[in-house]
Amino acid sequence: MEILNQISEYLQQGDDDKVFALTKEAIEQDLNPKVILDNSLIAGMNIIGEKFKKHEIFLPDVLMSAKAMYAGLDQLKPLLASKGISGLGKVVIGTVQGDLHDIGKNLVGIMLKGAGFDVIDLGKDVPPEKFVETAKRENAKLIGMSALLTTTMTNMKKVVDLVRKDNSDIKVIIGGAPVSKEFADEIGADAYAYDAGNAVECVKELI
């Protein structure tokens, strides 16, 4: 459908005004909101993700497209909710307690949302209990944590332990400059991601 392709095109160009207007038009044309979401917004973000992976575009291009995606998504959300349609699954993310470094975590959040996940971002300096309580309350399938200080990496284990203690099937993924695959294995996390794109791949595999 022409209008869906146009939305996807403008999203890739990072033109949020156009994406806003065309999404409005598509809704007025009574197109299925799930189809608009999947075939224009997520489809456009997937192309952007691929181009970024191949180094054809840069991070600011991705971020401008993400803004354009939201210009459409914000209009679709209430319609999707009223039809009981949810995204790819809920994930809870945050920077661990005692740590303020959130640039990487923010990128991970933006990429996950762009891929179609419902992201609950708890921000920075998040206590272990809050990760787990929120995930349970919101029926989230995954917790994603970021840490940049060697002294706060250890707080990731506290979250993993809380999840395992409950025998819950919530998955845990970790990232941040000092963190590694070995550390993830050591603390019993389900996955380690080296960057935001890789985080999306890992989350898709896990849930």
Binding site: K67, N106, D125, P178
Partner: protein
């Protein structure tokens, strides 16, 4: 006695190349006009919203020893406690870009303006780092020791085994609240774009260390030694 100085924005604003590098962009001319405009807009907002300021004070080794001990949460051995006893001079500092720029970044993210928010975030973070370098330069001017290989480096609570809770005692001594920085319950500084620490001056050899401390085995980053 503590001193307070305001930085000139032009003295700490990062080079365009450096900002783009943070975004993984190797060369300025590779980016679109749109990204160039984004950068200009972010620089404009940065100039309007940041109020960089520092409070600093010389401190004796005895007094610093007590601050460094902090709340007793440091790793058993750390680079800093090996380095500072050999110093000629120690200066405690806390600096901030001010609350307005941090608030602006949060607002931009809330408004889904991720590109401008991230650009501003990077510029403010890099400026905070540059302000630390500026402090190192200022301290270098003050020192009588202009020998070759003389090096003044900043070390911070939260850095390699010096637990972040160390900020509590640092604050009790320096009172950065005078320049608008406070500590939260997790010992993090508010506003976010703030850096605290100690400037340690002496010949460059004293700053050298092997990264084989207990916490190094956990940490993938091996860049701690690169700033020398």
């Amino acid at each position: 006695m503590s001193h307070i100085i305001r930085f000139k924005i032009k003295d700490i604003q990062p080079e365009k190349e450096v900002v783009f590098k943070e975004f993984g962009i190797p060369k300025i001319d590779l980016v679109s006009e749109k990204i160039q405009q984004l950068y200009s807009e972010a620089i404009k907002v940065f100039r309007e919203t940041s109020k960089p300021i520092v409070i600093y004070s010389e401190i004796s080794k005895e007094k610093f020893q007590n601050i460094f001990k902090g709340e007793g949460n440091n790793s058993a051995e750390t680079p800093v406690d090996k380095i500072f006893p050999k110093a000629d001079n120690l200066i405690l500092f806390a600096l901030t870009m001010g609350k307005e720029v941090s608030e602006k970044i949060e607002i931009l993210f809330k408004e889904n303006d991720f590109a401008l928010g991230s650009m501003l975030d990077n510029i403010a973070s890099l400026s905070a780092d540059n302000a630390v370098k500026k402090m190192e330069e200022l301290a270098a001017k003050d020192t009588k020791n202009h020998e070759e290989n003389y090096l003044i480096l900043a070390y911070s609570p939260g850095y390699c085994g010096w637990d972040i809770s160390g900020q509590k005692k640092l604050f009790e001594y320096l009172h950065p609240e005078k320049i608008g920085i406070t500590l939260n319950d997790s010992f993090l500084m508010i506003p976010l774009k703030s850096v605290s620490g100690v400037l340690i001056s002496r010949k460059s050899e004293i700053h050298k260390f092997e990264n084989n401390f207990s916490f190094c085995s956990l940490c993938k980053t091996k860049s701690c030694l690169e700033r020398m």
